[in-house]
């Protein structure tokens, strides 16, 4: 049987990511991994954010470790706490990107109707 945190590390695709930021209190393995993963993938985070980031790492770990015995109300409370901290740290798309920019990025990432039409029609244009 895997140690308590291991299945969660696999679930979040964590690798050995080290960050220049350090948590303000001692974290367990899962919390530390979430802390490092979040810090390295969000370059806008600064030393002034470490308190909030530490709290976020702990909250996220509690959500990942939640099971049925905790009860729906507790799970929901923990999830909301995690989401609130994520928004404060601007980790979520909604809090980091203007909605119009996010929509434009999503649209630009897809082929246009013209590109789709040309790809679907086999023709010689030369």
């Amino acid at each position: 049987m895997k140690p308590a945190g291991q299945k969660h590390l696999h679930a979040i695709g964590a690798t050995d990511t080290r960050s220049a930021l350090s948590p303000v209190v001692r974290l367990n393995q899962l919390e530390r991994t979430i802390f490092n993963l979040t810090a390295t993938r969000n370059p806008h985070l600064r030393p002034a954010d470490v308190v909030m980031l530490t709290a976020y790492a702990r909250a996220a770990a509690r959500v990942l470790r939640a099971d049925k015995l905790d009860g729906d109300a507790m799970i929901e409370k923990r999830t909301r706490t995690m989401a609130l901290l994520a928004r404060s740290l601007r980790l979520t798309v909604q809090s980091a990107v203007d909605p119009k920019s996010a929509g434009r990025r999503r649209r630009d990432a897809q082929p246009s109707p013209l590109d789709e039409f040309l790809a679907s029609e086999d023709d010689d244009d030369q």
Partner: protein, 127 residues
């Protein structure tokens, strides 16, 4: 600049369709703009504008891309001979007019007016 006497019946019908489609849009600002343009500039200039507007909108053309209604076959050939131009931002995106040029040539071969407001629908209708 196109002259009205040079227009084929297919071109006239396509331009009128472009005008009709634009006047049917939900965007009342656009509708008022086109009505005003009809009064001030006349049918040909307004319908040509509508063809441009509808093609850009329905084909989702990028700001640098010319719609088929702006491309002669000679210009399309020159663009295709020049080939694609890759953006320098590392995205791999082609920032040439090759795609609109290919469409313009296919429209010409298929007998679809270059002013048709919805070229893709026009091809679908021909099948």
């Amino acid at each position: 600049m196109i002259n009205e006497p040079e227009l084929s019946e297919a071109d006239r019908a396509a331009l009128q369709l472009a005008l009709d489609q634009t006047l049917a849009e939900d965007d009342q600002g656009r509708v008022e703009q086109v009505k005003s343009k009809l009064r001030d500039d006349g049918w040909l200039a307004t319908a040509s504008f509508c063809a441009y507007h509808r093609q850009v909108k329905l084909l989702h053309l990028a700001p640098w891309q010319k719609p088929p209604c702006w491309l002669s076959i000679e210009e399309a050939d020159a663009i295709l001979a020049d080939g694609p131009h890759t953006a320098m931002d590392g995205s791999g995106k082609d920032i040439s007019n090759c795609a609109p040029a290919q469409l313009a040539k296919r429209m010409s071969r298929a007998g679809i007016s270059q002013f048709h407001p919805d070229p893709i629908a026009a091809f679908a209708a021909k099948r």
